[in-house]
């Protein structure tokens, strides 16, 4: 493999370490230290992608993260990662990369037809075309348009990598490690402050890594960088160095998000390492040293492969040792391009011409270029280019004339000037100000503890960058409390200052309506698109941006914002600061979903809560369901049973004999204190003062708007002590609600609230044989019907373990709930289970629990209620203490809306055809086939097959339901309406005799 495009000087690339990689299936050679972009250029490959909308051939135009064109996919299978910027892809041996958005191939792309049809695809085309007929948009136009444009495709496989996160604190965070950033980090570190220095690139040094001539204190730039990094490493206890780490977002109060790319540059990463690491940094002070972006020139056909930014070409030559071409034309309005021309000439590129837009170019750099024999023309514009898959000539024109000359070349370098990178400053919510003299936006007023240094602040020279950096680092450290810093100065030599700049579209002699001069490369937005937007009435830059999509691509307008703004401002006849910039959004450059999702995946997405009997249930073959964060046994299928069969068997067994059920997940709150009863009176509808010690009551909890939000049995353990239960899912909400009222509304009440949900295991024993099952195990409690009536609580022992024994039932059968300290939960369950076997009792799960309570018309909050249901709606007025002057929700119960006659009320439903089981949530209507637009009367809240009834049944809430007993209503379904009869919601043992045995 010849090295004809490799310069003599190898820069930071190590030519003793060759690597092999593939691009679009073809194998190439590169070296350690190359990026995908530098290696492709070294192999003569400029065509790296097809543009988003028009599928125009595109090459790389930058050497960094601001790259808009060379978007590639890297990796295979589950690790196939699209939309990476080729200059940021570090090469390793065996890397597999592909171009995007082209078919069948990069060099022959059928999508290029979009370019010919481009008059149809101007800005905002989808607001004006492809709209008729209406149905065609969804089925025909949209899929075609979506397939015709785009970026890469993502893998459909689960992400095999893991990601980690760290919270970090420091005194000074320095973002960027060019001359300003390194200086800031040095001066801050020297005070003893804790410093974090991050840079998105693989090496620290920034622009100094491409600097061949300057000396800093007598050392070449690369040497100075090496020594600075070594010194920073020496402060190992206080300095954290983070290369390959992008600061992607500046948030409130100096909270800055960083993403460190840990393994993407490795051929065989250690599987123990995370792929990306998210750093969530809270810094006392921040120094932003983010540099500046070189701007392209907006001229017709400024996007052919082989056209790139001048300083990018200089970087490829100086840092990567690559000649990006053989014959170059340089088009510029800034002195810095002359340095690029000189460095490229030294690397062996022939510079045909430097065409300078300015009428005069007499600074030290243009002078040096002329002295080196390079042809320089001022007052000359680049007005076009030719070539299909690679540029082959530049068209130049003297300003004010119509004539155009074609200069043969295979490389065009352009420089419209430099835009300070104010993204992070803006994200910090600082106010930008417009520097009229230099025509750039720079940081104005800070609102957070930060300062900018170097090019991102608007500084234009290397000397100024160092000065800014040292001062900023010292200031930051001092404000963080480290005041013993000493001022540092460096002596620079061999640097020639560069000034200049141009904004907007370059004038040309062509018909503006027929040429494409690209402003935003990534979204294919041209100068004429922006002018079209203003002609169509877009006045605000926010509208211009969204209508044309300029600045909205993954590069967030790094190269395009200022030119777009200048073109819009000229079209609107308003000065640039009056038109203004749009908001800079996080992330600065794209970050992976993995870094954001981080540990919250799979088993770690949510905590899992299990009861003491979980392992026992698993061993029994239970199927589990999620209730909030808890795993609850749903049903216990025996061999050959499906869910339906298992539930019918469990239901029958409970009512015929008995069943054992784990009720530990329900919330438990201990309410204690001299004012406990008064507090309970306020929080619940019920009158608690008269509840005797040792008795229980079904408590109903409303919100202040009068709607049921929770329920549960409450036992009075002592005058000043209540054992309150809540629904499983509602426990944290209920405790929060109670604390809110106790702390902020009734702080004078002497009450303490303690969550005891996890402290007690609860074994429910339900069924005619329930008493017989627990009797042999209980000590110290008379559990006869007379001594311990339904809805009471007793303290005693079970198997020698202290217990709060409740006699209560959610099934409608004789029932007990054994509460023991959770450490004994499994042992007590097993003891009870052993007794239960003597009666052929079963274990039952939550599905059976749901069916049995529904047969009794007992509601479940969240099933029969949805936050809009009142006690009266549910037929629960009996639970309200009528004599109580006040409780939470009482006042609302008399609001007009809550006493309307047609409110939805709890009823039972029996399908006319007993085989049909209604679907929960199904709507209920007056007629079987109501016309479209008819409101439903209500909906089905619970629906099951009943073992004891031998047929289906349901609960529902229906408008004025209690007045509709015996009526026939309908549940319309896709297969046809189901007729139902409205009934009482209690289907089994209406008198409740079974509860009192």
């Amino acid at each position: 493999m010849s090295l004809t495009l490799r310069a003599t000087r190898s820069g930071r690339v190590d030519r003793t370490k060759p690597l092999s990689f593939t691009f679009d299936g073809k194998t190439y050679r590169g070296f350690k230290g190359d990026t995908l972009a530098s290696a492709l250029l070294a192999n003569g490959v400029h065509l790296m992608g097809r543009s988003f909308k028009y599928h125009r051939p595109r090459g790389v135009i930058t050497a960094g993260s601001d790259e808009p064109n060379a978007l590639v996919s890297v990796g295979t299978g589950a690790r196939h990662t699209p939309n990476l910027r080729a200059p940021q892809v570090e090469l390793y041996d065996g890397l597999v990369a592909q171009s995007q958005n082209r078919w069948p191939s990069l060099s022959f792309d059928v999508g290029a037809i979009n370019n010919l049809l481009s008059p149809l695809f101007v800005a905002g085309f989808y607001y004006k075309t492809f709209m008729w007929p209406n149905v065609a948009w969804k089925k025909l136009y949209e899929p075609i348009i979506r397939n015709a444009a785009g970026l890469g495709t993502a893998s459909n496989e689960p992400d095999p990598d893991h990601y980690s996160t760290r919270f970090a604190h420091c005194d000074v965070l320095v973002i960027g490690s060019g001359p300003a950033g390194l200086s800031a980090a040095l001066s801050a570190a020297r005070t003893g402050a804790r410093v974090i220095l991050c840079d998105e690139q693989s090496e620290f040094g920034g622009s100094l890594l491409s600097e061949l001539h300057a000396t800093v204190d007598g050392k070449l730039a690369a040497q100075w960088v090496e020594e600075a990094v070594a010194e920073l490493k020496g402060h190992s206890g206080t300095v954290t160095l983070l290369p390959r780490t992008q600061a992607f977002g500046y948030f409130a109060q100096n909270f800055v998000g960083l993403v460190e790319r840990v393994t993407d540059h490795l051929a065989k990463p250690d599987p123990k390492l995370p792929r990306d690491r998210l750093w969530q940094v809270r810094a006392k002070e921040v120094v932003i040293a983010a540099g500046a972006h070189e701007r392209p020139l907006v001229f017709p056909d400024n996007d052919r492969p082989g056209i790139m930014l001048a300083d990018a070409a200089r970087t490829y030559a100086n840092r990567y040792g690559v000649r990006p071409g053989g014959r170059a034309v340089v088009a510029t309005a800034h002195d810095s391009a002359y340095q690029a021309a000189l460095d490229l000439k030294a690397a062996g590129v022939s510079i045909e011409l430097i065409a300078d837009l300015r009428h005069e170019a007499n600074g030290p750099l243009p002078t040096a270029a002329r002295a080196a024999g390079i042809r320089v023309e001022t007052g000359m514009a680049i007005t076009g280019s030719t070539g299909r898959l690679r540029v082959n000539a530049a068209l130049v024109s003297k300003l004010g004339t119509d004539g155009e000359d074609a200069i043969p070349c295979d490389l065009i370098l352009m420089c419209g000037g430099w835009t300070p990178s104010v993204h992070l400053f803006s994200q910090s919510r600082g106010k930008l100000k417009f520097d009229e003299a230099r025509q750039v936006f720079i940081p104005g007023e800070s609102v957070q503890a930060e300062r900018s240094a170097g090019a991102c602040k608007g500084s234009e020279t290397l000397a100024q960058a160092f000065e800014d950096g040292f001062a900023a680092g010292m200031d930051a450290a001092a404000k963080a409390g480290f005041t013993k810093g000493t001022a540092t100065k460096v002596k620079l030599a061999g640097v020639l200052d560069a000034h200049g700049g141009f904004l907007g579209a370059v004038p040309h002699p062509h018909d503006a309506g027929r040429v494409k001069a690209f402003v935003d490369y990534q979204n294919d937005v041209t100068a004429k698109d922006i002018k079209l937007a203003t002609r169509e009435g877009m006045r605000s830059i926010e509208h211009v941006k969204r209508y044309t999509t300029t600045g909205m691509a993954t590069d967030q307008g790094k190269l395009s914002n200022m030119n777009a703004l200048a073109i819009a401002s000229e079209a609107l006849g308003k000065p640039i600061p009056a038109v203004g910039l749009t908001t800079f959004r996080q992330p600065y450059t794209p970050i992976s979903f993995g870094a954001m999702a981080n540990h919250s995946r799979g088993d770690l997405f949510d905590p899992v809560r299990k009861t003491a009997t979980h392992a026992w249930a698993e061993a029994q073959g239970a199927v589990f369901e999620d209730v909030g964060l808890w795993k609850r046994a749903w049903y216990f299928p025996k061999a050959g049973e499906d869910m339906h069969a298992a539930v019918l068997r469990e239901c029958k067994t409970v009512r015929d004999s008995a069943g054992v059920f784990d009720a530990s997940t329900l919330g438990k709150i201990e309410v204690v204190g001299p004012d406990a009863a008064e507090f309970m009176n306020i929080l619940y509808t019920n009158p608690w003062s008269k509840l005797e010690v040792g008795r229980c009551r079904y408590g109903l909890m409303l919100n202040e708007a009068g709607f049921v939000i929770d329920d549960g049995v409450v036992g009075r353990i002592a005058e000043d002590r209540f054992h309150v239960t809540t629904t499983t899912g509602g426990a944290p909400r209920v405790l929060n609600h109670m604390e809110d009222y106790l702390q902020t509304e009734f702080p004078n009440l002497k009450v303490a609230l303690t969550s005891t949900t996890e402290q007690y295991s609860v074994v429910a024993v339900q069924g005619p044989n329930a008493r017989k099952i627990i009797a042999p195990l209980i000590e110290g409690i008379d559990i006869s019907n007379e001594a311990m009536p339904h809805m009471s609580v007793r303290l005693g022992k079970i198997c020698g373990v202290p217990t709060r024994l409740f006699r209560m039932s959610f099934t409608g059968e004789l029932g007990f709930e054994v509460n023991v300290p959770a450490d004994y939960g499994q042992a007590i369950w097993e003891a009870i289970w052993a007794e239960a076997q003597k009666y052929d009792a079963c274990a039952y799960g939550t599905e059976t629990m749901h069916v049995l309570r529904a047969e009794k018309g007992y509601i479940i909050v969240g099933q029969e209620t949805d936050g809009t249901v009142t006690p009266n709606d549910l037929g629960l007025d009996w639970a309200i203490g009528k004599a109580k002057p006040d409780f939470v929700g009482k006042r609302s119960l008399t609001r007009p809306d809550l006493v309307k006659a047609d409110r939805k009320q709890l009823v039972g439903l029996l399908t006319v055809d007993p085989q049909k089981v209604l679907e929960e949530g199904a709507q209920i209507t007056l007629v079987g086939n109501p016309p479209a637009g008819t409101s439903a009367l209500g909906h089905v809240t619970s629906s099951y097959q009943s073992a004891v009834l031998g047929r289906s049944f349901a609960l529902a809430i229906v408008s004025a339901g209690r007045a509709r007993m015996g009526e026939t209503l309908y549940v319309p379904m896709p297969d046809g309406p189901i007729a139902v009869t409205v009934t009482d919601p209690v289907f089994y043992d209406k008198e409740g005799a079974k509860l009192h045995v």
Binding site: F167, A252, Q253, E739, Q743, P747, D886, R895
Partner: protein
């Protein structure tokens, strides 16, 4: 992520807290004497200022106390926090202190 100065625990990250709505909405001492309109306003009407908002937070992963907070809804800056039960502060004075 905000850094919230809990009056009891000091500066802690926003992750440890739960927002609890507008502050100083006093529950009427005798709800039975409020009109339907007054009661509806107590339930549902809340201010939505562009600027200083007095609101409640609860330090759920810390002391579990509710407390009050003056926050600027435009800049998201927290100007003051103070324990529940203390009276509404003088907002003009807070703004003046912040600018000093």
């Amino acid at each position: 992520m905000l850094l919230i100065p809990c009056p009891h625990c000091g500066n802690r990250p926003e992750l440890e807290f739960r927002y609890a709505g507008e502050a100083h909405i006093a529950r009427p001492a005798d709800p039975s004497t409020t009109s339907d309109q007054e009661w509806a306003e107590y339930l549902y009407f809340r201010s939505n200022p562009k600027g200083l908002h007095i609101e409640r937070w609860r330090h759920v992963s810390g002391c579990a106390r509710f407390f009050n907070c003056v926050r600027d809804t435009v800049s998201d800056k927290i100007l003051k926090t103070y324990p529940a039960g203390q009276p509404k502060p003088d907002l003009a004075l807070i703004v003046k202190e912040a600018h000093q």
